[in-house]
Amino acid sequence: MKLKRIFALLTASLMTFSLAGCGENSGQEVENTDVFKIGGIGPLTGSAANYGISVKNGAQIAIDEINEAGGVNGMKFELLFEDDEKDEEKSVNAYNTLMDKGINALLGATTSGCSIAVSNVSVDDGILQITPSGSAADCTNGVNSFRICFTDPLQGELMAQYISDKGFKNVAIIYNNGDEYSKGVHEAFVEKYKSLGGSVVVDESFTSGDVDFTTQLTKINSSNADCIFLPIYYTDVAYITDQAASLGLKLPYFGCDGWDGVINQLNGDTSNIDGSIFLTPFISTDSDPKVKSFVEKYRELYNAEPDQFAADGYDAVYTIKAAVEQAGGDISNEALISAMTQITVDGITGQMTFDESGEPNKSAKVAIINNGSYIAE
């Protein structure tokens, strides 16, 4: 009897979990032969739902813009987006579902693990796959797969170069040992930074879920570090900078694109981190007219501030559009993939070209936090 009650409780909790985070509605189905179908995959429910919803929203804006402008070669674009709950198996299921619907190109998956799982299957189909935000190196292993975002190692190298150029020679690092992204950035950063003649005076780690960083910060406080590099997500950044301030630690901070969102996390009070600099592909306060118009549309349609995932999704659609234009009337997989290396896309995350390995060549942007907002350098 007792056992039964436990079961009932567990079942109920499972259901609650599966309910967490139902997104808002969009995406209409049109049956038309003059339609170029883009299949999107990303988490719309579950713990990573933010990412998938952002990508979907960003991509939808691009699709609407293209269709308003009359489409490409007489074809309208259509986005079919499937949920993968950030689970590799479900991501492959979503991919199969999209293939049944006859998609012409794939925008996804949103997260690294899912992108790799999907590309294991998509490579046999040969369909053009562009992941907006899968940053693990293996995401672009297939000849058919490309990406919009930076890889983790590249971010680390760029930041090492930047910090070194600014004249900081003794860096302290705190990174998340349980997170692939953080570890990837950290590893490449350390290697590059040392090769540039800098020294890593404190190199401390933590694991996901930690909230007390006093030990690591005390170590930094008693070292001769002249700056702190935090290749981690914004929630942890908020904890660390807050605790550093109460320890009286006042060093300049550097970060990478996981910082995007830190101002909201701090409720707008950036007094502890004013002047901090992080690498990001997209800054919503950028004065670029394309960025401005995107941000305005996003705010109006979704009543939210666009993040880099939204920007990546938006740019991914325009990349597909550019490939379709380059390929002329031919929308076969081969034509689209060979067009990819010939195009230049002037996106809101920067101007990019693609090489055959699937990596984008684009310049990084650096955002400075000042008085409650992000400012482009």
Binding site: T11, E24, N25, E89, G113, K183
Partner: protein, 317 residues
């Protein structure tokens, strides 16, 4: 009587296989459902093996995903590093995965089985989480980024045949085990430990045996999962995964193997079949789950099932 049943089982197994094979080869199945064949098989193996612990041994285990992940990583590591032809590599990987998981079933079985009920449930839960944490920080298996490049050289669309064979083996072994002398001892322990001990049944031995067999098949299921997806991430094998398997066992009613099979199929297909609902999918799925649970625990329906299967059901209630 027993003979007749095994023949019937063999006929059903072959007929289903021929039906599946024709559907796949003639291209009558959509990509979506083709892709679901292996996940369905994996879930059937998981549900049937967990049913041995929960339904027949009468112990609550929340660590099944832990056994699954150990087997998956062991078997897939073998595939990544050994470059043998697929028809040798896959069976070997399956056996290695199963054996390593069984070893852990044995190790966790010894201290854990001194406990009962809720306490054991928490210990198995802890076990699953420990496995996940260790995998997260093990360099050789790729840590939190996952084990990549699992490729045996077999074509992806042929995995369902391997998976199907493993399902048949699992069902055969576990249902034979339950109907054997050992199985009767296991059920006796479930129904009354003191009575079982008093007639000389070695309770610890049988409990560990149950755990080892269940872990072995969970490990094999993990190997199949890894080969099908091509990447293993520790985050997949979390607490939720264990609960998911448990839900299948409960839905199919405890101690009922055909029930577990049907529940595994329904719970794998349902969320995919509901994709057309878009944003309401998970909501409707949850509601459907509640309704199915209410429905399958309905007394009239249980009577009806008994008539169909012509055999009295022994639930773990």
């Amino acid at each position: 009587m027993e003979n007749k049943k095994s023949i019937l089982f063999a006929i059903i197994a072959i007929v289903i296989f021929i039906a599946l094979f024709t559907l796949v080869e003639m291209g009558l199945l959509s990509r979506q459902y083709m892709g679901l064949l292996v996940p369905i098989c994996v879930n059937i193996i998981l549900a049937v093996s967990l049913n041995l612990i929960v339904g027949f041994l009468g112990e609550l285990s929340l660590g099944h995903a832990g056994f699954m992940s150990i087997g998956a990583y062991a078997g897939c590591l073998f595939t990544v590093y050994a470059n043998l032809p697929p028809f040798i590599e896959i069976p070997l990987a399956l056996i290695i995965g199963g054996l390593v998981a069984a070893l852990f079933g044995f190790i966790i079985g010894i201290p854990a089985l001194r406990l009962r009920g809720d306490y054991l449930a928490i210990v198995t839960l802890g076990f699953g989480e420990i496995v996940r944490s260790v995998l997260n920080s093990l360099k050789i298996v790729g840590g939190s980024g996952g084990l990549k490049g699992i490729n045996s050289g077999m074509h992806k669309s042929d995995y369902y045949i391997v998976a199907y064979i493993v399902v048949i083996i699992t069902i055969l072994v576990i249902s034979n085990f339950i109907n054997s002398r050992h199985g009767r001892a296991v059920k006796a322990i479930r129904d009354n430990v003191i009575a079982a001990e008093s007639v000389g049944i070695n309770v610890v031995y049988y409990k560990i045996l149950g755990f080892v067999i269940a872990a072995f098949f969970a490990g094999m299921a993990g190997v199949l999962y890894g080969h099908n997806i091509g990447i293993l991430k520790p985050a997949t094998f979390d607490f939720n995964k264990s609960i998911e398997i448990l839900v299948m066992v409960i839905m199919g009613s405890m101690g009922n193997i055909p029930g577990s099979i049907i529940a595994a199929i329904i719970l794998t297909v349902l969320p995919e079949a509901l994709r057309f609902l878009q944003d309401y999918r998970m909501l409707i799925y949850a509601v459907a789950l509640i309704l199915i649970m209410l429905f399958s625990s309905n007394p009239t329906l249980i009577e009806f099932r008994k008539k169909i299967f012509g055999k009295k059901e022994k639930g773990g209630k």
